[in-house]
């Protein structure tokens, strides 16, 4: 069991060494600062698009929403428009709640057994909280990083930074130099959430049992990204002006590598991000896009009112009423059941008998 996360951990440590040694000792700043990030972005965008097109290329033959509430039927019965949507607008709402608030995960329960005879189910909120914390802190971190790619820095990002560092901890601002912005909560939450998601894969027996190396790798990688970022900000200072010179050059396609002021840890940070981007389209991380296409969530439960078309619907062999009556006509007549053809109209009886023999 352990080997699954050991492999992933080793992989991430190896990536760390490659980037650190490569940039510090081997002087490959151009490779790690420019070439690999560009390649990673190409892999990410290309892979992402190919993946979406691949999914979109598969048909949606049936409308199979999972209904999680009352259907729309009789006018005096109140339907649950969001969990059992019948219109496009309601489907959009359902998707909104699913994607923005992880509504299905919010329902999560934990099963247990008490007194050896009663099965009970308890509301289990921690995975939902952990996931929300993880995704939203990550999003905040990403948005904050836009300041490195836009000049002048838009006021929206400055506002976000101010909110993110709203809880300024006095002792932290004392320990670190004056002029350093407040501690970003998002980085801390991201680190904590990743740690939580890792620990539950180690300590909850069932989750441990189902986890693959591919579940640990992104966690370690994101941990590495967050940790190296926090290090650079609060401990091993990097020259922000030099970093911005690099990032602005990168985004404007005039890449430059500043001569000094950027330590190896920056290249580690950047390399981890590049790996994450390149890995993204080929991994489970594509759930980010896939959730939009999930047929059990993005379809309306109105298939009795509006016909859903299957693009590859094809004719199938059926057992017709005529064949049925041919086989059972005598018995039907004896039982007083109406028939379409009376026996005296037939030379069919022979065929029917042959058919019967052939089939039995």
């Amino acid at each position: 069991m352990n080997q699954k996360y050991i492999y992933s951990l080793i992989a991430v440590l190896a990536l760390f060494l490659i980037a650190y040694v490569g940039s510090e000792a081997a002087g490959l700043q151009i490779l790690f600062g420019i070439i690999l990030p560009y390649l990673a972005i190409i892999a990410f965008l290309g892979g992402f698009i190919v993946r979406i097109l691949d999914w979109a290329g598969s048909s949606v033959p049936f409308a199979i929403p999972t209904t999680c509430g009352q259907q729309k039927s009789l006018p005096w019965i109140k339907p649950n428009a969001i969990d059992n949507p019948t219109s496009t607008g309601a489907v959009v709402l359902r998707m909104f709640f699913e994607i923005v608030f992880f509504r299905s995960l919010f329902r999560n329960t934990r099963m247990g057994i008490s007194n050896g005879s009663r099965v009970f189910y308890k509301w289990e909120i921690f995975l939902w909280i952990g996931s929300l914390a993880f995704h939203y802190s990550f999003l905040t971190v990403i948005l904050r990083h836009l300041r490195f790619f836009i000049e002048p820095v838009p006021s929206a990002i400055i506002l976000l930074e101010n909110i993110d560092s709203f809880f300024k901890l006095e002792f932290i601002t004392h320990i670190f130099q004056i002029g350093l912005p407040g501690f970003y909560l998002s980085g801390l939450i991201l680190l904590a959430a990743v740690t939580y998601l890792f620990l539950r894969r180690i300590f909850i027996p069932q989750v441990k049992y189902i986890s693959l190396a591919a579940d640990f790798f992104p966690l370690f990688l994101i941990f590495g990204i967050a940790f190296s970022g926090i290090l650079m900000r609060y401990v091993i200072k990097v020259d922000i002006t030099a970093v911005k010179e690099l990032t602005m050059g990168f985004i404007t396609f005039h890449p430059v590598v500043p001569k000094e002021g950027i330590s190896g840890i920056f290249y580690v940070h950047l390399f981890f991000v590049a790996i994450l981007l390149a890995y993204f389209p080929f991994s489970k991380l594509m759930h980010m896009a896939g959730v939009f296409l999930s047929p059990t969530r993005n379809m309306a439960n109105n298939t009795r009112a509006v016909r859903h078309i299957n693009p590859w619907n094809y004719p199938v062999p059926v057992h017709t009423y005529e064949e049925y009556e041919d086989e059972f006509r005598e018995k039907m007549i004896d039982a007083g059941l109406p028939v379409d053809k009376m026996p005296d109209e037939k030379p069919e009886e022979i065929t029917a008998d042959q058919k019967k023999e052939g089939k039995e």
Partner: protein
């Protein structure tokens, strides 16, 4: 019930949810008696013209597979990835968060980790990664990939037939991954090389030939309903003579044949007869039964989409032949998943029918205007709302009733309030089971999707445990003695399940409760449909 079955407390004590020491990929499948259903009878497979008809036994090493079976599975997999976006997405995006793990009744009842929905899907996903993804090819086992082999195939077969396609896990999945969809695909693939179970294959063949799963021929079908007519006449003095195969009737009625065949479904069937007779006498309802389309259920759905379509076709073909206006469907679970989410798509458009309107209340069933098929719970709820039924709920006062939401009407339709409305109007004592076990979170009876055979009784008792345990809760707390339901498979499965876990609880179909309460003009009734004295009639019933 089989003698070898453990006692309930022994079975319960045996459940261990701690995963084994060995990784699931390195834990070989053991096909165990009591947990699987017998192999499909080759005659049934042959009759339907499905692949690889031959006698075989799951316990044998040799499953008599076609030589190129791996190629067939690989091609079948590929084809389905292209034809079903659901399948492809569900193969790709699972993050193994584990939210589904303890939502499955089979996992709760067996503790077998391969019954966690996520691993059930991983059984297929591991092969998918190996065969269809670059990452899987490069990383192999460490990337969660493994090549197809006989062991994998046997594992697929064992666990695809330990899933009842109930969709409970999909309610909790943050991406809506639906294990029913995975199981449907898995079973389609298995059927490509002739690996079905007989409890599915033979009903399907029967249904194809005689119009119903039980293979009841037309004259016998009528004969069986005639028995009910006699029974109803005995207990009420009213002749409820039904009409068969009538051309030009207003409405065609289709319900599962299980209710024609075995108790306690038979009482539900008598309930329909009584209701229709009442409506005919009072309001001139013109409704016909069909011997050709004499099955509402569709075990083809548990075989492949194509087989589902082949069986379902009868409903529209018969409606067209008889020239009815619309179709009324009886109480059934998966039947309604098929009707609600598949029928119009596969066999529509039903442009030869009219948009359904209740001939009695004038209510337009807008929600069924395209399929032209109405659920009897919708139909009856509308009747009661418009005060068209003369009901005496006091006649059910000896019953303390709870209600089981069938998986498919709950999670593939959303039919939650209609049955509750009806039951509360015909019964004075109604109690809900705990919130996490009803409505969209309802638990399977343990025998859905074709698993209600006799030989897999341990599987059924284990899978039915969460449901039975919730019934036991209301039984202990409120003295509930009736488990009501709107599904024929439920009515076939629950009696054994209740006898095993909560012996004091009886199983009732909803329309049995309706018919108990329904006052027929001119009737002389002292007993309910089961011949038990009505409350307050204990003395008279003996006479």
């Amino acid at each position: 019930m089989s003698d070898e079955l453990l006692k309930p407390d022994e079975l319960f004590a045996k459940i261990d949810h701690r995963p084994p020491k060995t990784d699931w990929m390195s834990t070989p499948v053991q096909i165990r008696k009591g947990m699987y259903c017998y192999a499909s009878n080759y005659k049934s497979v042959e009759y339907l013209g499905l692949p690889n008809a031959r006698p075989w036994n799951p316990l044998d090493d040799d499953w008599k597979l076609p030589e190129n079976w791996q190629e067939i599975i690989h091609q079948g997999f590929k084809e389905r990835l292209e034809k079903f976006r659901s399948f492809k997405i569900f193969m790709d995006i699972c993050v193994r968060c584990g939210a589904c793990a303890d939502k499955c009744h089979f996992f709760i009842g067996t503790g077998d980790p391969k019954n966690m929905p996520v691993i059930r899907a991983e059984l297929l996903r591991s092969v998918y990664r190996n065969d269809f993804t670059r990452m899987g090819k490069i990383l192999g086992k460490i990337g969660g990939a493994r090549p197809m082999g006989l062991d994998v195939l046997k594992e697929w077969w064992y666990y695809m037939f330990q899933c009842t396609e109930c969709r409970r896990c999909s309610v909790f999945c943050p991406y809506g991954i639906d294990t029913a969809e995975i199981t449907i695909m898995g079973r389609e693939l298995l059927n490509l090389i002739g690996l079905n179970i007989d409890w599915i294959a033979t009903p399907v063949a029967n249904c194809y030939r005689t119009g119903n799963h039980l293979g009841i021929q037309p004259h016998a079908f009528k004969g069986m309903l005639d028995f009910f007519v006699e029974d109803v006449e005995d207990l009420s003095g009213i002749n409820v003579e039904p009409v068969y195969n009538k051309k030009g009737a207003d409405i065609l009625f289709i319900t599962p044949s299980g209710d024609v065949f075995a108790d306690p479904g038979t009482y539900t069937c008598m309930g329909y007869l009584i209701l229709f007779h009442y409506l005919k006498e009072k309001y001139g309802l013109d409704i016909t039964w069909s011997t050709y389309a004499s099955e509402g259920g569709n075990f083809g759905f548990f075989t492949s989409h194509e087989t589902m379509k082949r069986l379902n076709a009868k409903m529209y073909m018969e409606a067209k032949r008889l020239g009815v206006k619309w179709i009324l469907g009886g109480e059934c679970g998966h039947m309604w998943r098929v009707i609600n989410q598949y029928m119009d798509t596969v066999n529509g458009p039903a442009d030869f029918l009219e948009e359904p309107v209740s001939p009695i209340t004038g209510t337009k069933f807008e929600n069924a205007k395209s399929t032209k098929m109405v659920h009897i719970a919708e139909f009856t709820a509308d009747l009661i709302k418009h005060d068209k039924l003369d009901l005496d709920p006091g006649r059910n006062d000896n019953l303390k009733v709870t209600y089981h939401d069938s998986c498919n009407p709950a999670r593939g339709m959303g039919l939650l309030e209609e049955p509750r409305y009806i039951i509360k109007k015909v019964c004075n004592n109604f109690y809900e089971m705990p919130a996490n076990t009803i409505r969209e979170q309802t638990f399977c009876c343990g025998g859905g999707a074709g698993l209600n055979a006799g030989e897999d009784m341990e599987l059924r008792m284990a899978g039915g445990l969460p449901r039975a345990n919730a019934v036991k809760y209301v039984h202990d707390k409120y003295g509930v003695n009736v488990l009501s339901c709107i599904c024929a498979v439920d009515r076939a499965v629950f009696p054994a399940l209740m006898e095993y876990w909560v012996p004091e609880v009886e199983v009732y179909g909803m329309h049995e409760l309706v018919a108990n309460a329904l006052i027929l003009p001119g009737e002389k009734r002292t007993t309910d449909l089961r011949g038990e004295p009505l409350p307050g009639m204990e003395d008279k019933a003996d006479e």
